[in-house]
């Protein structure tokens, strides 16, 4: 066990899986000598060489499609897009090709690819480089959607994603790359689809993802000071979604707030809220509250961007409205 950043944890996972299985290879823009847009693939080109750490032209459609094709042909590609926003260019290759092959072919194809994409606002990157798009991917049968919030989760989940026999969307947050935490040196996996209770509490459940897990923990501290005990549940994966852990928590606390950075309207919180309403309405003492971004593109100017991103204050406020 040692202290590692989220970025190092991801790098560890890639290195260990490449060492373990020669079918694992990396492809993407500037992933080679340059080390990846945010540095996640740093050093892998030097260790594994050009055949296994492949710099591609700037062609997202071909990157995602080639990952799907290589996967169906027996390799385990880990593709990187520099920013999740660029998936727009490659949508067909993801949604209509990779995600659907197994089903359409009557179960004959296996598509073990992982697609890593950083998302989120906070670095002044403006509307085309800052989105949180997880609900797009959750909505497509055939894809799995992983969204880790800590270095520990990032490593274990990335290893699981690479070993998974399905296309896995792996969503990192730009502002999390620098955070550190305890991460085992050895290889380990975390089940895809298993939520984690990041903090136990009795008065309200806060389901939060990615960067918002940290805001929720911060909010829980503030609430504690006012005598409200919040339980923070991090689903870690949005597809499959661990409804059991979430529902059990709500049954215990009788109140639910959901926090994510994606636009609130039709965001992942909508699905979670509906699921809880269907399965545990009788346990709720108050309406479900959602905290998400406003329904507008991500603005550039720092004061606007800061205002746009939900924070612990918004979460505290949401909890206080129902508790």
């Amino acid at each position: 066990m040692s202290e590692k950043t989220y970025l190092q944890a991801l790098n560890d996972a890639l290195r260990q899986e490449m060492e373990r299985d020669e079918n694992v290879f990396i492809l993407g823009e500037d992933v080679g000598q340059f080390g990846g847009c945010f540095g996640v693939t740093q050093g892998l080109f030097e260790t594994f060489g050009e055949e296994r750490v492949k710099d591609t032209p700037i062609t997202e459609s071909a990157i995602v499609g080639a990952a799907g094709g290589a996967a169906v042909a027996g390799l385990r590609p880990v593709a990187e897009l520099m920013f999740v926003d660029f998936i727009g260019v490659a949508m067909d290759q993801l949604f209509n090709q990779a995600a659907k092959m197994r089903f359409m072919f009557g179960g004959k194809a296996t598509v073990p690819m992982t697609l890593r994409m950083p998302q989120g606002a906070g670095i002044g990157a403006a509307a085309q480089h800052s989105q949180s798009l997880e609900s797009w991917f959750m909505h497509i049968p055939g894809l799995k959607v992983v969204i880790p919030s800590t270095p520990y989760d990032a490593k274990g989940l990335l290893i699981s994603a690479i070993r998974d026999d399905n296309p896995v969307i792996f969503l990192e947050h730009k502002l999390l790359y620098g955070i550190s935490g305890e991460v085992p040196d050895e290889s380990y996996t975390i089940d895809i689809g298993k939520a984690d209770i990041k903090r136990e509490g009795t008065d309200v459940t806060i389901v939060a993802t990615s960067l918002m897990v940290h805001s929720a923990l911060d909010a829980a501290d503030k609430l504690q000071a006012e005598g409200i005990s919040a339980e923070v549940v991090d689903p870690r994966c949005l597809q499959p979604l661990d409804s059991e852990t979430i529902v059990n928590s709500v049954k215990k606390t009788h109140a639910l707030v959901i926090a994510h950075e994606a636009v609130q309207f039709a965001g992942p919180g909508a699905e979670i809220a509906a699921m809880v309403a269907e399965e545990a309405l009788d346990y709720l003492d108050a309406p479900i509250k959602r905290v998400g971004a406003p329904f507008c593109p991500v603005p550039f100017s720092p004061p606007l961007e800061q205002f746009y991103i939900p924070d612990s204050g918004n979460i505290v406020e949401a909890v206080k409205r129902i508790r």
Partner: protein, 319 residues
């Protein structure tokens, strides 16, 4: 080609305006005064200047993530650009767009673009609109060597040609897409060769020679206005800075940079203008001084301008 003295001087001013604007941005970015990313155009001034000086004010243009030069060459306002890049309320996009998204529809500037290859299809649409409305306008699409590999770019080339649209594709081949050298991202040496696949003229020019760029683009604009369809002009050039400010540039060697810096397009053009007596040394000094003053004023304007109000966040999501 006989260009008027006025045009030549305007081109010289434009190149210097871009140069100084970018040098200022470089400093302010390093000082932490500019949010987000900045992709500088230093070293490539001859391309934007040569190309845009072949257009009229009503002609349209799509730009890229490295768009400051294109915008200034098309007539973009120094103050409004500077304020936008500083994230201010008074900027071109009210602080909502930043460096990568500046637009001025009145000048036919359909926007810089954060998506590599995003501009090609937009330029096709603009050129179609011009043809449809018989407006006599031409659209010009700037795109990089990296962008030339995007499907969107190839799709745009094809559609523009199939529909014989008044469109000029100007490829800025600076040799790299971030860290990826051209030789690793494509098998052809000249991107202009790809024009053959779409049955349009493909021309290679020295992108550090503003007059060569101007001449090639003017020819293409003439064809476009005559209803003869699109052209592809490849301008060979080089970016002096890293891909973005802060890029350590480990992927290219110092000698290569030095070699290209020795081909600086500005002194080269200046020497021509002095030799032909279009300008005297005194004129040159006066021009540079005036531009320095304009840029300083733009910086002061940006810095004195307020940040946007959070109450404006939801404005302009819909018309």
């Amino acid at each position: 080609m006989a260009l008027s003295k006025k045009t030549l001087i305007h081109m010289f001013e434009t190149m210097n305006r871009i140069r100084l604007f970018e040098q200022q941005l470089q400093e302010f970015f390093a000082a932490g005064e500019i949010p987000g990313f900045v992709h500088l155009y230093l070293g490539e001034e001859a391309v934007a200047t040569g190309a845009c000086s072949a257009l009229t004010e009503t002609d349209m243009m799509t730009s890229t993530h490295r768009g400051h030069g294109h915008l200034l060459a098309k007539g973009g306002d120094l103050k409004l650009m500077m304020a936008e890049i500083f994230g201010r309320q008074t900027g071109y996009c009210k602080g909502k767009g930043g460096s990568m998204h500046i637009a001025d529809l009145d000048l036919g500037i359909l926007g810089a673009n954060g998506i590599v290859g995003g501009g090609g299809p937009l330029a096709v649409g603009a050129a179609f609109a011009a043809k449809y409305k018989k407006s006599d306008q031409v659209a010009l699409c700037f795109f990089g060597d990296g962008a030339s590999n995007q499907g969107t770019t190839q799709e745009a080339l094809n559609m523009a040609s199939a529909w014989k649209l008044p469109l000029v594709f100007v490829n800025e081949n600076n040799g790299y897409g971030i860290s990826c050298p051209q030789c690793k991202s494509m098998a052809v040496v000249d991107i202009a060769d790809r024009a053959a696949a779409y049955d349009m003229p493909g021309v290679v020019v020295d992108g550090n020679d503003v007059l060569a760029v101007h001449e090639a683009v003017s020819e293409a604009v003439k064809r476009a206005r005559n209803g003869e369809g699109p052209s592809l002009i490849e301008c060979k050039t080089y970016r002096w800075r890293g891909h973005f400010e802060g890029d350590a540039c480990v992927y290219r060697c110092a000698e290569e940079l030095e070699e290209w810096m020795a081909k600086d397009p500005i002194p080269r053009f200046e020497a021509k203008l002095l030799e032909s007596k279009t300008l005297s040394k005194k004129d040159v000094a006066a021009i540079k001084e005036r531009i320095a003053k304009d840029v300083d004023e733009a910086v002061a304007f940006a810095k004195e301008s307020p940040m946007p109000q959070t109450s404006a966040l939801m404005d302009d999501v819909y018309a």
